[in-house]
């Protein structure tokens, strides 16, 4: 039986040869992400900012200008009206906290344009709590994973993994900031999944490095890491591809509501794959790892 091999057996790509370039690239990306965050901040959704969101669906094209003028009499403050998925759907965002009577008259106005699909109202108390919860969740997930890696491997691996994770999260947030893609609660979920995915990728490479460290006691670290990446390359490519197949299917067919979530995941898979191949592994080179594994009986 003939099978497709995207990555040839026994590749000998010198991944670490371009380590200067990838280091500069990563530092540049992280710095840009940080600067973008400072200048543009994130386009927080109502989960984190508070406010009201209303989606309206019609069987014909909705004219945004008309919606705006019909809502303007209600004096709702800052309004954001945009198409959602198609020109027949609109999304109305009201930034201010509005009274229940005002929101019900806004809904009445909007009903003349089409069917109300969803209404979300988040008060300021909740939005600040959600931010806090989101940050706690990320910090907790990262620390637990590091603890696990530290127990299963050595501290150098743990440190290398955390730097790679921060790298991934930072760049993903930077992309959301730069392109002003809406950042809401589901993006936090996506970030955590990215963390999980990237860690998964990193662990597979690290695992092979550790195995080779035991096997080839005399081989220099540079070649050892390089051949470990090569040995896991086929797997890295295949898994990233199947994950991307699933994610693109979701992105294109899964509906508007989870587009942001899937987009974050797609970005994350690319960055995660890049970081475990180029960043996490080369970090071990700088951090230095224990070469004598004879006394360690871990799997």
């Amino acid at each position: 039986m003939k099978t497709l091999k995207l990555v040839k057996q026994n590749t000998k790509i010198e991944f670490l040869k371009i380590r200067k370039f990838t280091t500069i690239l990563s530092v540049f990306l992280c710095a840009s992400a940080f600067i973008s965050f400072l200048f543009f901040n994130l386009n927080f959704g109502i989960d984190f900012k508070g406010g009201t969101l209303i989606e309206v669906k019609s069987s014909s094209i909705i004219e945004i200008a008309k919606v705006r003028s019909s809502l303007s009499v209600l004096d709702l403050g800052d309004l954001q009206i945009q198409n959602f998925g198609s020109e027949k759907n609109i999304l109305v965002r009201v930034e201010n906290q509005i009274s229940s009577s005002k929101s019900s008259s806004a809904l009445d106005e909007l009903r003349s344009f089409g069917e109300i699909q969803r209404v979300e109202v988040v008060g300021p108390k909740i939005s600040s709590e959600l931010i806090q919860k989101g940050i706690t969740a990320i910090i907790m997930a990262v620390s637990l994973m590091l603890f696990y890696i530290w127990i299963r491997f050595e501290w150098q691996f743990s440190l290398g993994a955390i730097i790679a994770l921060i790298h991934d999260v930072l760049i993903t947030i930077g992309i959301f900031s730069f392109f002003q893609i809406e950042f809401n609660l589901s993006i936090i979920a996506a970030l955590l999944t990215i963390i999980g995915y990237s860690m998964n990728d990193t662990v597979v490479v690290y695992d092979r490095i550790r195995e080779n460290l035991r096997k080839y006691k005399k081989l220099d670290l540079y070649s050892l890491i390089n051949s470990s990446i090569n040995q896991t390359l086929s797997r890295t490519v295949l898994t990233s591809l199947t994950t991307l197949i699933a994610l693109f299917s979701l992105y294109l067919l899964g509906g508007e509501v989870i587009k942001g979530f899937t987009l974050a995941m797609i970005i994350g898979v690319f960055i995660g794959t890049y970081s475990s191949t180029f960043i996490a592994s080369q970090l071990l080179l700088y951090l230095g790892v224990k070469r004598d594994w004879t006394k360690n009986n871990n799997i």
């Binding site: 019900s104 969803r118 979300e120 890696i149 589901s186 662990v203 509906g255 799997i299």
Partner: protein, 527 residues
């Protein structure tokens, strides 16, 4: 690694068949007796409905108790002829200055006795626990204890839940879920509700109803200009008309046993008929007999809803409220009165309402994305690994079935991000098989026989697979414990998916491959 005893094979087979039957009700409507019939719960974002996060206003509970404490102290000190000044309520408590320094001890004793539920306040907890008294000079400060306040909040939340349940039952919706969250919050989920505004109207009122006399000694306008008599207060109605109403309550809403919306026989306008219990009926009869020809006010949440003249004594214990209502307003008021008053106002912190149309669209697109994603991955794996790929694909399909089965068994809630979790698992589940197959390729390329290449491929991948999946599981468990609503749904499917995918990839494909190896004894592996 490749040897499976017969009993082990049987056991694995049973697990797979069990998973299949657990998942079955989700795909077919046929009910087979003795087999599970539970399907996955759909979250509100898929079935449509309203999600409300409410907070019981604890400040108002503090305030209420502080004020009643002031009243209790006033009555008690007066009865015992102890002179005092500066009696006032604090943020959570009260203070008073006793003029006669010899009586300070007595006063303290009297106030301490108030602990004993003398206020008739249903929230009163055990004696000696409710507050502490500090004395400095002649100033007595009564401070409500944190623990007693917490207990009050807890009871208020429980009572609110009961009243919310009764109010929602009045709306005639099915399966509302009302849960306590944290100290003073209530999470309300009502599936399939067309108009959340009505729900919010019902929750937005505490619905404290009482009947009082209108003070006719002076007009409201006059009183406002000059001086409001201490026994009365000014309360306006929905149209802003002001009334001077006595503070004394004739009968309160707690005495109501029934309220029904109806139509007035002559004017045909919507009204609410109500009926008191025996005691309330007696109070009402006494009050109306003594005040024929005078107006009384029906006050709901500090708003006059009507102020009719008493034409004749009302002895039967029932009456009607005409407040110029619309049909819906009359209906709502009847529901509110039947359900009873909330112990404290509720604040809506968060609201999410999803229309049934959007939910259905999400289900359809979620299904489509899952099927297309699955087919894409299946094709890709088949062309990458040939025969072994087909085994992996079998495991992958089994994996999806087991996820559905487990979610049904756990009665977990499937949300839209949850569907995303399943699709993501499909993409990531093959990872374990990919790791194993790549290993087998390596081992085979290094010159091992097919059998031992497979054997060592599996055993060498185990550690990697565990490490890789434990880390992902950590992330999804954190999401599960810290997330709410849809995000929690995502965490559930992802966690379940990780566990089932390791099982199907590592155990089931190994079983199939070992059966194939033992049966065919291939001399070479085509990879």
């Amino acid at each position: 690694m490749l040897y499976f005893s017969n009993s082990k094979i049987l056991f694995l087979l049973i697990i797979c068949v069990f998973g299949f039957f657990l998942a079955l009700p989700n795909f077919s409507k046929i009910n087979i007796p003795f087999l599970p019939s539970q399907t996955i719960n759909l979250g509100l974002d898929l079935r449509g409905g309203s999600y409300l996060l409410l907070e019981v206003d604890t400040d108002s509970i503090n305030k209420d108790r502080s004020q009643s404490l002031v009243e209790d102290i006033r009555v008690s000190l007066r009865e015992n002829k102890i002179k005092y000044i500066g009696l006032r309520s604090l943020e959570s408590g009260a203070e008073v200055r006793i003029q006669d320094s010899l009586k300070i001890k007595d006063a303290e004793e009297l106030i301490r006795d108030l602990n004993n539920g003398t206020s008739g306040n249903i929230f009163n907890t055990q004696k000696a626990d409710e507050f502490s008294i500090t004395t400095s000079d002649n100033l007595l400060q009564v401070i409500l204890n944190d623990s007693s306040l917490k207990e009050k909040y807890r009871l208020a939340v429980l009572q609110s839940i009961e009243i919310i349940r009764r109010r929602i039952d009045g709306l005639g919706v099915t399966e509302p879920s009302i849960q306590r969250q944290g100290n003073n919050r209530i999470l309300l989920e009502v599936p399939g509700l067309d108009d959340p505004q009505r729900l919010k109207d019902l929750l937005g009122q505490t619905a404290k109803l009482n009947f009082r006399m209108v003070d006719v000694s002076v007009s409201a306008g006059e009183a406002k200009r000059t001086k409001v008599p201490s026994r009365s207060e000014i309360i306006s109605d929905t149209d802003g008309i002001q009334y001077l109403v006595m503070k004394k309550i004739l009968v309160s809403g707690e005495r109501l046993v029934d309220a029904q919306a109806s139509f007035d026989g002559t004017t045909n306008s919507p009204i609410v008929n109500f009926r008191f219990d025996t005691v309330g009926g007696k109070y009402f009869a006494k009050a109306t007999s003594g005040n024929v020809g005078k107006p009384f006010a029906i006050v709901l949440d500090n708003q006059v809803i009507s102020a009719p003249i008493i034409r004749s004594p009302i002895l039967g214990g029932s009456g009607q409220i005409e407040g110029g209502f619309s049909v819906e307003e009359a209906n709502n008021l009847a529901i509110l009165l039947r359900a009873g008053a909330l112990p404290a106002p509720l604040e809506i912190l968060e609201e999410k309402t999803i229309g049934p149309g959007l939910g259905q669209d999400s289900i359809e697109s979620g299904k489509l994305a899952t099927i297309v994603g699955l087919i894409g991955v299946l094709l890709f794996i088949s062309i990458s690994y040939g025969r072994f790929g087909i085994y992996a694909n079998f495991a992958l399909i089994l994996n999806v079935i087991m996820i559905v089965g487990l979610l049904s068994l756990l009665q977990a809630t499937l949300t839209l991000p949850g569907i995303a979790g399943i699709v993501l698992t499909i993409g990531m589940a093959v990872d374990s098989n990919v790791i194993i197959f790549e290993r087998i390729r390596d081992e085979y390329a290094n010159g091992k026989s097919p059998f031992s290449a497979v054997e060592s491929g599996y055993s060498k991948s185990l550690g990697t697979i565990l490490d890789a999946n434990v880390t992902t599981l950590i992330a999804s468990l954190v999401l599960f414990f810290l997330g709410t609503g849809p995000v929690k749904g995502f965490a559930v499917t992802l966690s379940v998916g990780i566990i089932t995918s390791v099982f199907t990839a590592f155990v089931i494909t190994r079983l199939i491959i070992s059966i194939w190896l033992l049966k065919n004894k291939p001399t070479e592996l085509s990879f």
